[in-house]
């Protein structure tokens, strides 16, 4: 800041001289502008004003001359503005004004934008689109760079070496796929079922449903890649529901070939009730061990605005047993809600299934949510925490007291 200041001063100082030199001869060429004659001359003695020959309103002329040309073409265009077109124009102006607005917006998005119930909802939606666009642009740029690099290396490679020889034909990905599919097919016959309850559509917004399905796709993928996969059931999945539409959007043709069971039946119709356990963070019961004979149910729900007790209510209604992960017991919880994403749940359950090791399984809880693993009994740790807090508090109080004393003495001296 200071250096910039210095620079400025230097520039101003150095520029005065040439102005004065030019002052005499150019004076008559530039008509004095209105504001200049009003404000500047009154304040400063006009002999050494460096800006005197500066036409401060020149920009207006430029702008006005620029608009002449464009005015003619805009007239023909603007016949009638439908609501959509008007909204599009507003967006364009907001973008020009530097707000977070996407450059391109589709008809569908524009409609969603107009249907937003409030100004803040509109703003949020636009920001979301803007960030999505930015993300896409960056991704595309990276891919382009990568392709270029690859082409370069290929060119070099083709010059230098012959084809490498090895005993395996390079068909990694497809053969891996086949192996995975074999394992999942096995699990569909012999594997332990895992149920995703798809009955929360009413409790979610469209975006939340989209997020849910995204998480489901991730969970399915990690299940497929595991050593001993679950047999995944999508229960209560209605045809033409939002879930269904989103799933098809994500999987496209692969949806019909997916090695999972998707059904519109409820899990209580498929499995015996006493074997079902509903996993929910609100459950009063805490899971102790992973039971290989039980069927665990996960609610397919993303709740951005935390809705407590929705899945617990569902389990209560059906009279099912519930359980929560023993997060408190093993982790020193820091911040964030205790509900985890579906793919995190999947990772945790898969690890439990393979190893039964809680510590290993709970590695998949996001690191920001906990401070560390509990090694000592919880109550001892809590005692420590309390002690730390008490010390902190004590220090703060002392600081306050000091501050007060200082202020007080100041007051006294002022008097």
């Amino acid at each position: 800041m200071q250096s910039a200041n210095m620079l400025l001063k230097k520039i101003i100082r150095s520029s005065v001289l040439p102005f004065v030199a030019q002052h005499g001869m150019k004076k008559d060429l530039f008509p004095l502008s209105r504001t200049l004659s009003l404000s500047l001359c009154l304040k400063q003695d006009n002999s050494c004003s460096p800006s005197e020959k500066l036409d401060l309103d020149a920009w207006k002329k430029v702008m006005k001359s620029a608009l002449r040309e464009e005015a003619s073409e805009t007239v023909s265009e603007s016949k009638e503005l439908s609501a959509l077109a008007a909204a599009r124009e507003i967006l364009e102006m907001w973008r020009l004004a530097g707000r977070l607005v996407p450059e391109n917006i589709s008809e569908e998005q524009l409609k969603t934008f107009m249907e937003c119930p409030s100004k803040s909802a509109k703003k949020k939606y636009l920001k979301f689109l803007y960030q999505k666009e930015l993300y896409k642009k960056n991704y595309k740029r990276k891919m382009d760079e990568k392709r270029e690099r690859r082409l370069e290396t290929q060119e070099q490679a083709s010059e230098t070496d012959e084809t490498k020889r090895s005993s395996f034909v390079c068909l990694w990905s497809s053969s891996m796929d086949r192996a995975y599919n074999w394992r999942v097919a096995q699990s569909m016959i012999f594997g332990q079922p895992l149920v995703f309850d798809m009955s929360y559509e009413k409790d979610m917004s469209i975006r939340e449903v989209a997020n849910t399905v995204r998480q489901l796709v991730l969970s399915e993928a990690s299940n497929r890649r595991s050593v001993d996969p679950f047999h995944i059931h999508f229960c209560n999945l209605k045809e033409d529901s939002l879930y269904h539409k989103e799933l098809i959007k994500n999987y496209r043709e692969a949806w019909s070939k997916l090695l999972i069971t998707a059904t519109d039946q409820c899990y209580t119709e498929i499995f015996p009730k006493d074997k079902l356990i509903y996993l929910t963070a609100d459950s009063p019961k805490v899971m102790k061990t992973f039971d290989h004979n039980k069927i665990y149910i996960i609610g397919s729900m993303v709740d951005r605005s935390i809705k407590t007790g929705v899945s617990l209510a569902r389990a209560k209604r059906l009279g099912l047993e519930t359980a929560a992960l023993p997060l408190e017991k093993y982790l020193l919880w820091n911040t964030g809600a205790k509900n985890l994403t579906l793919d995190q749940m999947m990772h945790i359950l898969l690890t439990l299934k393979d190893t039964g090791d809680w510590k290993k399984a709970l590695e998949f809880v996001p690191k920001r949510k906990y401070c560390g693993f509990v090694s000592k009994p919880v109550h001892e740790l809590k005692k420590n925490l309390k002690l730390i807090n008490a010390l902190k508090l004590g220090r703060r109080q002392e600081e306050l007291r000091k501050q007060f004393a200082k202020n007080y003495s100041k007051k006294l001296t002022q008097k």
Partner: protein, 467 residues
């Protein structure tokens, strides 16, 4: 960066721009700092000229920023010019520019122009409440009260919430003016405060007082006072409205509590249908109660004491006066433990009725139901503000009713001193703006920031008309 103090030549701007870290955003950053430092307008103009000459055009965002500077420095003619240029250059303007222009013009002698701009803005979107605020203030500043009120009603019809500032402006600028119509409108504002349970702050209250006292031939006199616990005003000796709801309001509230709070989207979330039915039957058989106690809440009053002891103390204190008590709790209280001794629980059950909900059920919902079912005389004891239950109610009108009812029926036990159970009595009178025709009673806040929604002001302005 610091903006220069004097207008610069193109070369100088150029040099400055080059020395800046990222020249692409130099103009933007420079304008931002000009607005922040409130630079003279000529400096900004010289920068604009530089941009116009080097690019042949000026970007919209720069124009808006320049506009912000003009508004800040009150340069009306400049605002006009920029508006003309923008209008010719772009087919429509966005809300940011409109906000600035309306604000800028409404503070000048060309405030009528702001009104036409407001009309223009209405064609593309709903104006914000600050837009209306500027126009209303401008109109009332020029004594055009009819126009101001027209705008005010238009604003309300668009569900915009006026700031206290605007409302205060009405009182400030109508001082000493005559007219039955005007008086009616201003009374209307006071009733708006009443309906929305808004409390004016001290300076606003002063404006109201001064306006009343300035009405020609009105003979109004205002006094600041505190209302007695009995609900009597010490100045005019009138009794304030009591906090009872009307029969209709009461029934409405009760139905909404059952529908929104207890059942909500899913009855299983807070209780279960079986449990709720059992509770309903239990309450019907024993009606009416005088006081309903939130057992778990009361049992935590003194953390150093055993929980059942706390509860015991409260129950035996309240049981003295031959009142019918209901204590709500959860089943885990019945299991003998270090905090819940069976003998004490047994003894308490002789003094009051007990209902134990499931451990995972919400007992607060039952508390509300039992109290409302018992009738208007029934009170409840809890330190909980019940905010989450209020939030379950679906419309603001019912939420206001809930708050009003809560004020009149909740007994909060303060931290006890020497094991005496001190009651914070429920209010006997209702704390809202109220009138009897020849008197007005207006509660007010001491400072602007006081914001606890559960607290109600204890200070009042009493205005009476001497005929």
């Amino acid at each position: 960066i610091q903006p220069p103090e004097k207008p610069l030549q193109a070369e100088e701007w150029n040099r400055l721009r080059e020395s800046f870290r990222s020249p692409e955003i130099f103009e933007e950053v420079m304008f931002n700092s000009m607005v922040r430092c409130n630079s003279p307008i000529d400096v900004a103009k010289s920068l604009l000229t530089y941009v116009a000459k080097s690019n042949g055009d000026i970007a919209y965002n720069l124009l808006v920023k320049y506009l912000a500077l003009c508004v800040q420095r009150g340069q009306t003619s400049e605002i006009h010019d920029v508006y003309d240029i923008m209008k010719a250059r772009f087919r429509i303007l966005e809300s940011g520019a409109y906000n600035l222009i309306i604000r800028g013009l409404s503070n000048s002698d060309q405030w009528r122009m702001a009104l036409t701009l407001l009309e223009e803005l209405k064609k593309i979107m709903i104006p914000s409440r600050t837009n209306y605020e500027s126009c209303i203030k401008a109109a009332s500043r020029h004594q055009e009260m009819n126009l101001a009120f027209e705008l005010y009603h238009e604003m309300l019809s668009k569900d915009l919430v006026p700031t206290l500032d605007v409302l205060q402006a009405f009182f400030d600028f109508s001082r000493g003016m005559k007219g039955a119509e005007l008086q009616k409108e201003l009374f209307g504002i006071l009733l708006y405060l009443r309906e929305n349970q808004i409390y004016p702050h001290k300076t606003f209250m002063q404006s109201i007082k001064l306006w009343f006292e300035s009405i020609p031939g009105g003979n109004w006199r205002g006094h600041l006072t505190n209302i007695k616990d009995s609900g009597q005003c010490p100045v005019c000796n009138r009794q304030l409205e009591d906090s009872d709801l009307t029969e209709e309001e009461y029934n409405n509230l009760r139905e909404r509590i059952i529908k929104d709070v207890i059942h909500g989207t899913d009855t299983f979330r807070k209780t279960s249908p079986q449990e709720f039915e059992a509770f309903q039957a239990f309450v019907e058989n024993r009606l009416p109660f005088d006081i309903v106690i939130d057992g778990l809440n009361v049992s935590h009053i003194k953390p150093r004491k055993m929980q059942c002891e706390n509860l015991f103390e409260a129950v035996s204190y309240l049981a003295k006066e031959n009142v019918r008590l209901l204590v709500l709790g959860r089943k885990h209280m019945l299991i003998n433990s270090s905090n819940w001794k069976r003998e004490i629980m047994k003894e308490m059950q002789n003094k009051a009725d007990f209902f134990f909900a499931e451990n995972i059920s919400e007992d607060d919902a039952f508390l509300l139901y039992a109290t409302l079912q018992s009738g208007k005389h029934c009170k409840f004891v809890s330190r909980d503000f019940l905010r989450d239950h209020k939030a379950c109610l679906s419309d603001s009108l019912t939420r206001h009713l809930f708050r009003k009812w809560q004020r009149g029926h909740q007994i909060a036990s303060k931290k006890m001193v020497l094991s005496v159970f001190i009651q914070q009595p429920a209010f006997r009178y209702d704390c809202v703006v109220q009138t009897t025709g020849d008197t007005w009673h207006i509660p007010y806040k001491d400072t602007f920031e006081e914001k606890y929604s559960y607290q109600v002001p204890r200070k009042w302005l009493c205005i009476q008309q001497k005929l």
